[in-house]
């Protein structure tokens, strides 16, 4: 009895579904190439990760190559560069975070205090210009600024009686150069979002505070900063999730074998092992480890933020 009631319902659903498909045929025609794109260029590479567990040989293809289990993971972890790569990646990213993250916030807060509207606008427009300059050019500019013979930084050092420093060849300076040039390129761009959220704070709060005799810094500390703190937290979580995702395209342009000690990071190693030396399986294995750690980091960051501030990504 039950079955005979269910069946017509199911048939009806199928019919409805077909009717829907027919109604949406143009929509589906439009959708198809886009889904094909995602399948080929996003999901096939995910499937390709299995070569991390195989000894990939192009003659046999992905499926035909023999399984080797965790061989390449072991090879990487036991290899001579493992500790150095992990340390460099974390340190570069960590320093980038503690210097690069607060500066746009401070810049936005200070810029907000500028009274002259035209000057404020001019500063803002100029501040994000470097964001649109390619990293190749940024590194080119950096090389010119730090050149031992003609760079302004070394000319200044010499004027004050110091010895010129060959910044690009000195492993002690790599992180500073990387982070400083990153700040130069992105502080203004990073500030846009804070400036926007500052401008959405209710002006009455300021008026009330001033009425109560609060000064500049008190307003900044008790109104502006709390007003933008949800934005800060969200961006911080996102940033923590990318802790291992260092801008390696810039590192590739800046480093040289002489400074691998501080400059070589996991993703540049993947590039050298995987692309340049064509050790595809090793490169994939290291890449997979990198993304697993990155994923764990973003989950942890999100958990902490849920506890501390009740702001969460999901």
């Amino acid at each position: 009895m039950g079955a005979s009631i269910v069946q017509p319902k199911k048939k009806k659903q199928n019919k409805n579904f077909l009717k829907k498909v027919k109604q949406q045929k143009y929509l589906l025609i439009l959708l198809f190439p886009c889904l094909l794109y995602y399948a080929i260029f996003k999901y096939i590479p995910m499937y390709g990760i299995i070569i991390a567990f195989k000894k990939y040989d192009f003659r046999y293809g992905i499926l035909g190559s023999p399984w080797v289990g965790f061989e390449y993971f072991k090879q990487f972890i036991q290899g001579p560069y493992f500790f150095r790569l992990v340390r460099n990646t974390f340190l570069l990213s960590f320093y980038d975070l503690i210097w690069g993250f607060p500066i746009p916030i401070i810049f936005a807060l200070l810029l907000n205090e500028i009274q002259n509207k035209k000057f404020k606008k001019a500063v803002q427009s100029i501040s994000y210009l470097p964001h649109f300059i390619s990293i190749v050019i940024v590194v080119g500019l950096l090389k010119q600024m730090t050149s031992p013979t003609s760079g302004i930084i070394n000319l200044m050092i010499q004027r004050f009686g110091g010895q010129p420093i060959n910044f690009f060849m000195d492993k002690e300076w790599f992180r500073t150069l990387y982070i400083a040039s990153g700040i130069w390129q992105n502080f203004g761009w990073g500030a846009i979002i804070y400036i926007a959220s500052i401008s959405s704070i209710d002006p009455q709060l300021y008026e009330a505070a001033q009425m109560d005799g609060a000064g500049r810094f008190r307003c900044m500390w008790h109104i502006t900063l709390p007003g933008i703190s949800p934005t800060i937290v969200i961006l911080l979580i996102l940033r923590l999730g990318r802790l291992l995702d260092v801008g390696f395209e810039k590192v590739l342009l800046m480093y040289s074998p002489g400074i691998y000690e501080t400059a070589d990071i996991i993703s540049t190693y993947i590039y050298r092992a995987g692309i340049q030396q064509a050790n595809y399986s090793l490169g994939t294995a290291v890449g997979l480890m990198n993304s697993i750690i990155a994923f764990v980091l973003i989950v942890i960051a999100n958990k902490i933020s849920q506890k501390v501030s009740e702001t969460s990504l999901w």
């Binding site: 439009l30 959708l31 590479p45 995910m46 100029i126 210009l129 050019i137 010119q144």
Partner: protein
């Protein structure tokens, strides 16, 4: 924001000064390369050029522009930017439109599969092997197709399209129009502002990209500008650039620093020219993106 303080105090002076210094630091490297590129090599070698060109001349530009590789690369960059951005916009807008339609079957499942790719990816090597396997290696397609849709940009466009009033679509339906007509005749024209914004994001991305061309191109004839710049800056090689310009100009030839500077200036010109007009769109793009929440 109506926030007025009566006094212009010490804080304002320091703050204004600080902002002025920040502007100077931001602009100095750019002004410096411009100055170097227009100066004559005697002054450059004596480290006498700071912000104003000394011994004004076009020697370095003549040298760079006379270089065949440089022009091929420039043309390539324009080609990749135009073709790449067009592909980006067609795919991104189409998917955004489909996902903005509430009646689409499996809409939620498709959305999840699409958004997942923002967090998980195959990584460098599997992508590289895929391009080789598809036969795209050493062709323009290797750099314009794989990044056809940036999921982040697609979400920005979709959010915008979802905000369009439903009633307009109904009127087209009543007149017997289908989804394709709704898309082409109504949604796309109404979405012009957001399309312009993400189009600019994509275009700047193509103009500035060096990594994909570096790993996917073998032929020098295919190299875009950024690769040539990279060779000059990182590897310090100058393809056929050490000409005997001295005889031609009756003065010492441009130094490598000058050649790099003038190349940088030529590569930056398009961005600097359009920047004043488009920067407000970029800011708008960041705003729309941040509101998606």
């Amino acid at each position: 924001m109506t926030k007025t303080y009566k006094k212009f105090n010490a804080f304002d002076i320091i703050n204004t000064l600080l902002m002025t210094i920040i502007i100077c630091i931001t602009l100095y490297p750019l002004l410096y390369v411009v100055a170097i590129s227009f100066s004559s090599s005697e002054f450059v070698q004596a480290n006498m050029v700071k912000i104003i060109p000394k011994g004004f001349n076009f020697g370095a530009y003549a040298e760079v522009m006379g270089n065949e590789f440089f022009w091929t690369a420039y043309k390539n960059t324009i080609l990749y930017t135009v073709v790449g951005t067009s592909i980006n916009l067609v795919f991104t807008c189409t998917l955004a439109f489909c996902l903005s339609r509430k009646e689409l079957i499996f809409r939620d499942a498709i959305s999840i599969l699409v958004v997942l790719t923002m967090f998980f990816s195959g990584g460098l090597i599997p992508n590289f092997l895929l391009i080789k396997w598809l036969g795209m290696y050493n062709t323009i397609w290797a750099i314009v197709i794989p990044g056809a849709i940036s999921t982040y940009n697609m979400i920005i466009v979709r959010t915008y399209m979802q905000g369009l009033p439903e009633e307009i679509f109904e009127s087209v339906r009543i007149d017997g129009g289908n989804d394709l007509q709704i898309y082409l005749k109504i949604v796309l024209p109404l979405s012009k502002p957001v399309i312009a914004t993400i189009g600019l994001f994509y275009a700047v991305g193509h103009w500035n990209s060096y990594f994909a061309p570096m790993i996917y191109f073998k032929d020098r004839a295919l190299y875009p500008l950024q690769i040539i710049l990279r060779e000059m800056i990182v590897e310090q090689t100058f393809q056929d650039m050490a000409g005997d310009l001295a005889e031609a100009f009756g003065q010492s030839p441009p130094t490598s620093e000058m050649l790099i500077s003038s190349s940088i200036v030529i590569a930056l010109i398009p961005i600097l020219c359009v920047y004043p007009f488009i920067q407000k769109y970029f800011v708008k793009g960041v705003m729309i993106g941040s509101l998606k929440g």
